[in-house]
């Protein structure tokens, strides 16, 4: 079998850190090859080297048998390598066609590409309307636009960075059909992901990186999901299980919450109701941008609600700010880490003070006791295995996963009676995600209520006993998993979406 891309012994260091240490991998033509690894394993570095935006310190690459050392992404594209990034780069105010043309070299906006777009759209089941404005498209549709933009350049290798993290289950299976078809037509695909189930479903080979080094190249179907995960993190995973489900009395309720968004592009919330009981883990599933941010603002208390809507332990908390809510033992982890849950330019110690209740000794009458603050942050760092030289590091210097562990830990050490977490493991590696999940479960086991708002359906399914779906600002009733199951959730997720 001929290899489309061969990489041998690639090394790349940043200072003392070896981001890629002697990494080799070979991608066959017409195959879907997975690149697996935790955050910081060196996946991005390797991909950037392939795509020409980074130069390796050592090693060799061959493209279709010829020596290959791209000096820029432009050169990589000339060779037939295309990439769909995790964060899309589309202009919202332009049409699909205009966006696609802008991605091409030497083509004017006045040229007509409608035919061409529709051709790819039909051939690969990438349903888009070239004349539609991108701002009106769902996330899944935007991704299709990105893919077509790549396909139109006839790539021999398509790199996809975490493509399914923002898609509904239906969109994921549509994407897989497209990818399989592409591979059959001769295009190699390098598929970066940490979702092992998907990798086992569509990838014929997988290369696993850990700490910049190559762990193994294997055939994913020959290993269980758990084995793959353990190869990725280099240690055993704990099985998630509740040791004590004893659901108690009602602790938190939302009653007919409606709110018009102040933001032009925001989502209006309609008549949301939810009741949570002590010791329960409740999940709100849904695709991003369906009202999660707006709901979270109201739950945290960054915006106030009218009276009689939010009730915690018999108290009306609608008009309380977040600090007052924390005094009652409600704690929160927002989705956005830098700039919302943490201040990037402040140390971890200082960030500790963001979510303080008044009673913990960190402050008295507003005067800060830095010693106590430091002892709290050191406790979080050690209990939640946050990788950092000290609590005096700036929040922005931590990797996303580490900062997430810190933020979740910061709230969990308060032993909250209710914790509301948005995207608890977003961008967090498998090992840490496992830890965070385990600690949320043990909190619930001890009788606290846990509310998880997440786009990651697997996460919701594995943790929550009661699942709701948020779509277009409306919250579904709890889904009966025994009766309706995944199909119903999928339906609800897409139900309100524009198509």
């Amino acid at each position: 079998m001929k290899y489309q891309l061969e990489i041998s012994n690639i090394t790349k260091s940043y200072g003392d850190l070896k981001a890629n240490d002697d990494v080799s991998l070979s991608i066959k033509g017409s195959s879907i090859h997975a690149l697996l690894g935790e955050n910081g394993a060196g996946k991005s570095t390797l991909v950037k080297i392939i795509y020409g935006s980074l130069m390796p310190d050592g090693g060799l690459m061959k493209w279709a048998g010829e020596k290959y050392s791209p000096k820029s992404p432009f050169e990589a594209r000339e060779n037939g390598i295309a990439m769909v990034f995790q964060h899309f780069s589309l202009f919202e105010s332009l049409t699909v066609e205009e966006n696609i043309i802008l991605g091409l070299n030497g083509v004017g906006l006045n040229e007509n590409f409608t035919e061409e777009i529709l051709k790819y759209s039909k051939q690969y089941g990438l349903d888009v309307n070239p004349q539609q404005v991108v701002g009106d498209l769902s996330v899944g549709e935007r991704q299709r636009v990105e893919i077509i933009r790549c396909l139109i350049q006839n790539p021999k290798l398509l790199i996809m960075d975490e493509p399914t993290s923002v898609l509904t289950p239906q969109e994921v299976s549509d994407l897989f059909v497209t990818l399989k078809k592409l591979a059959d037509d001769g295009c190699a695909i390098l598929y970066i992901s940490h979702k092992l189930e998907e990798v086992r479903e569509i990838c014929s080979e997988a290369t696993i990186l850990r700490g910049g080094k190559l762990v193994q190249s294997c055939i994913p179907q020959e290993h269980s999901q758990k084995e793959l995960a353990e190869m990725m993190i280099g240690k055993k995973l704990t099985e998630l299980a509740r040791s004590n489900i004893s659901v108690g009395s009602d602790i938190f309720s939302i009653k007919n919450l409606s709110r018009k968004s102040d933001d032009m592009y925001g989502v209006h919330l309609h008549d949301i109701s939810l009741t949570m009981r002590k010791g329960s883990i409740v999940g709100i599933a849904g695709v991003a941008g369906n009202g999660q941010d707006e709901l979270m603002e109201l739950l945290i208390g960054e915006k106030s609600s009218s009276s009689g809507v939010l009730n915690f332990n018999g108290k009306d908390i609608g008009s309380m700010n977040s600090h007052e809510r924390r005094q009652l033992s409600m704690f929160f982890v927002p989705e956005e880490r830098l700039g919302h849950g943490a201040v990037p330019d402040m140390t971890l110690d200082e960030n500790m003070l963001l979510s303080r209740p008044d009673s913990d000794g960190m402050t008295s009458n507003g005067v800060i006791d830095w010693k106590t603050v430091t002892s709290f942050s050191e406790q979080v760092i050690s209990d939640f295995d946050v990788q950092t030289p000290s609590s005096r590091m700036l929040a922005k210097s931590l990797s996303g996963g580490n900062l997430q562990k810190f933020m979740v830990g910061r709230e969990l050490i308060r032993k909250p009676e209710l914790i509301i977490v948005a995207q608890p493991t977003w961008g967090v590696d498998a090992g840490s995600a496992n830890n965070i999940h385990q600690s949320l479960i043990s909190l619930a086991d001890q009788g606290s209520a846990v509310l998880i708002i997440s786009q990651d359906l697997d996460e919701i399914l594995s943790l929550c006993e009661q699942i709701h779906v948020l779509s277009e600002g409306r919250l579904s009733d709890a889904v009966d998993m025994n009766k309706d199951g995944l199909e119903k959730i999928s339906q609800l997720m897409v139900g309100g979406q524009k198509s």
């Binding site: 200072g15 130069m55 945290i300 208390g301 960054e302 700010n321 977040s322 600090h323 007052e324 809510r325 924390r326 929160f332 927002p334 956005e336 830098l338 700039g339 919302h340 849950g341 943490a342 201040v343 990037p344 330019d345 402040m346 200082e350 003070l353 963001l354 979510s355 402050t363 507003g366 005067v367 800060i368 830095w370 030289p389 005096r392 590091m393 700036l394 210097s397």
Partner: protein, 356 residues
């Protein structure tokens, strides 16, 4: 090739070294400029007059302190707002309003003796500055009007208001129609703390205020609120801080302190209200605050440095007939190099050979 690489942790060494590097670069640049503009005068003697004489001669040194005091007080107030991302650049206007309000109280009680008069004038000065700054706070909160524009434009209004007052109600009745107030009587004048000079108690107040500000910023949640609001407004909401209150605090504190400095100037070195009261201290204090990286104790030193440039600048103007813009060039270079060198705290400079 030179490349800047972000550091994981701020460099402790550079926090101390960067001002020294900046000062050296400023001196070097000044040297080069003097080489060009001086024909027959030795650069070294100009340097001496500019930088050394104000420190060595006791009269000049006292004048340096007199000029530093208002810069310290205004700079402290501004630095709090700047930390919160509230850009009050109209301290000059609040300074004038404080002088008018406090001065008016002093004139109202003309020739009334009493220890209470000066504190009363100080309070009036603070309130005058606060009220004037609160216009910007109100407009920002109520109508999202940018406080930079409001405070800046109100500065010119304040200066005109001062002139109107001096031609109207506050004019000296026996002053031959000059637009000036009466000279304040003794009870309305600041105590002198260095006999035989104009150095007044304002310097001590400035030092006390700096300690208070240091405590508020480093040891109190107030400082955290200011800092968090300034660098991550959404995180401030997450923490439960009211952003409107932060706007009020910032503008009231900076306005109040500018007002106090204005009153100190009127009842100290000036001894009366005159049209010459506004001396751009309110604007220069912005430089002072940033030179000190908004650090409350650092502001004491940066104010001394800027005051040095004022006194030294005036001296070279008199002694060598050099243009008055020397002072501004010098202040501009200082700020430029300080801000530039601060990059070194957060970034590492790496030299590398260009590939291929």
């Amino acid at each position: 090739m030179i490349k800047l690489i972000p550091r994981a942790e701020n460099s402790k060494a550079m926090i101390i070294l960067s001002p020294i590097i900046a000062l050296t670069l400023t001196a070097l640049s000044a040297f080069v400029i003097f080489l060009f503009i001086l024909d027959d005068i030795a650069v070294s003697s100009v340097f001496f007059t500019l930088f050394a004489e104000p420190l060595l001669d006791s009269y000049y040194f006292s004048e340096l302190l007199v000029k530093a005091a208002p810069l310290m007080i205004i700079g402290l107030g501004l630095s709090i707002g700047f930390r919160a991302g509230i850009w009050n650049i109209g301290a000059e206007g609040q300074y004038v309003m404080g002088a008018v309000a406090g001065g008016a109280v002093g004139l109202y009680f003309y020739n009334v003796e009493g220890f209470w008069l000066l504190p009363l004038m100080a309070i009036a000065g603070i309130i005058g500055g606060m009220l004037y700054a609160s216009i910007a706070a109100y407009l920002r909160i109520k109508y999202q009007v940018n406080e930079i524009l409001v405070t800046l434009m109100l500065t010119y209004v304040a200066v005109l208001f001062l002139q109107a007052m001096l031609q109207g109600p506050l004019r000296n009745p026996s002053g031959f129609n000059f637009p000036e107030s009466r000279m304040f009587h003794d009870s309305a004048m600041l105590p002198i703390i260095w006999e035989g000079t104009r150095l007044h108690i304002g310097l001590i107040v400035a030092i006390l205020l700096s300690i208070l500000a240091w405590f508020g910023i480093k040891k109190h949640m107030f400082g955290m609120q200011i800092k968090i609001t300034g660098s991550a407004p959404r995180a401030a909401k997450f923490a439960g801080f009211d952003d409107n209150k932060t706007v009020w605090y910032s503008l009231l504190i900076s306005g109040g302190l500018a007002g106090l400095a204005g009153l100190f100037e009127a009842s100290g070195p000036a001894g009366q209200l005159t049209p010459g009261l506004p001396q751009f201290y309110g604007f220069t204090a912005i430089i002072v605050a940033f030179l000190a990286r908004l650090h409350p104790v650092g502001i004491l030193f940066s104010a001394l440095l800027i005051a040095l440039s004022y006194v030294g600048g005036e001296n070279v103007q008199i002694d060598y007939n050099l243009p008055s813009s020397i002072t501004q060039i010098f202040q501009g270079m200082l700020l430029f190099y300080f801000l530039a060198c601060d990059i070194l705290i957060k970034y590492k400079v790496v030299l590398f050979k260009k590939n291929n």
